[in-house]
Amino acid sequence: MLIETDVLIIGAGPAGSSAAKHAALNGADVLMIEKKSEIGAPKRCAEGVSKDGLIELGIEPSSRWVTSEINGVRLVSPNGTDVWLTEDTVKLPEMGYVIERKVFDKHMAMDAARAGADIMIKTLARGLERKDGHVIVKAERMGEEFDIKAKIVIGADGPESRVGRWGGLKTAVKPKDMESGAQFEMVGVEMESDTALEFYFGDVAPGGYAWVFPKGKDIANVGLAVIPTLTEKSAYEHLLDFVKNCPTTKNATAVELNIGGDPVGGILKKIATDNVMVVGDAGGMVNPLTGGGIISGMQGGRIAGQIAAAAVKDNDFSEKRLAEYGKRCKEEIGDSFNKYMKSRDYLESLSNEELDSIAKVFRETEFEKISTSELLRVLVKVSPKALLKLGKLF
């Protein structure tokens, strides 16, 4: 069997679906394949998105996938000193929602289908070769092996990012840039506020942080991410310790376990080559400090879809034609990532004691708005070490 299409998208997460939707809307013949039997499950994500991000993408929040609205943040240092940033005390909130990825991802895929994209589930891509200016992807579905011939392939295959490598892009993630994450969805979580995201810093999660993201009532995603090269314990072992020792979760019960990698090395230098582009986690479109990548992945997907469709119209799938994609992603998404990467390196360098003393100062500081950059701006003011390392950036 041979299937022919203009644009083949491998992976039906939010970035893939966004690419599929926009390529289809712009007139390309689109096929998206997904190796799993259910789009969106299992989630590998803490499920936080910003309101501004959804607005920018033109996505109307739906009660089907919004589980809670967030209006504050609680930052907790290793000795339990907490800093509250809420809409009551801080102007210009830049807050968001905790969503249900299982539902959200499926809805994004449905949007792509409604725009005209075909979708094949339970379909695994196994390899790729170029032939006469096209790409042949070897695929397998329910025991049946077949080829897909495409003009452009968009790799949306997440942290695995094999499609890019098959195409000649350097998408392998360095160990120091791959966070290893583990998360329970829990019930009986005793949050101080069910509308605030909680972040825990220090030894609980070397190289990353732990989080409690409320999903309505006493339900929350409780997770953490670590850089494996900085710890002897696995992410899962860190999670067990955290849940046992954290006052918010010590009486909670897990109803789901999620694990996975999060590439926090920033957008890759090269995300397009002849016939092949990468989007979302596969292209490193993740905020290196927060690890968040739903919105940025979908923005990347939108740009990739538009450019792929335009390239199909021009009948030019060369690296030169697709290079516009890398340029636009860097301008529209990756611009801030460099400074967040330096901030991550800085946070990684702080001892528990330093984090505690920063938290103490933060408690007495007035913030103008709730955002990552505002936090870092204040941090630079209160910490000489931060000023030294990040002063020019914030």
Binding site: R44, P159, A172, P175, G181, I259
Partner: protein
């Protein structure tokens, strides 16, 4: 040579860090191209649930 323990959740993190792109992860399958493996063990270290063990 790797052993995949039965609690592997097929998250694919190992595939992402494998410098030689030798690991294929399906919905509920994981396959190593062991002929080209150089035993760097980066995959073993990255696994969030320690499901990969090096077999001597």
């Amino acid at each position: 040579m790797k052993i995949v323990r039965e609690w592997c959740m097929y998250c694919g993190e190992c595939a992402g860090v494998c410098p030689r792109c030798l690991i294929e992860v399906g919905e509920a399958t994981i396959t190593f191209d062991e002929s080209s493996c150089k035993d760097c063990e980066i995959c073993v270290q990255a696994c969030p649930v320690r499901a990969l063990i090096k077999e001597e």
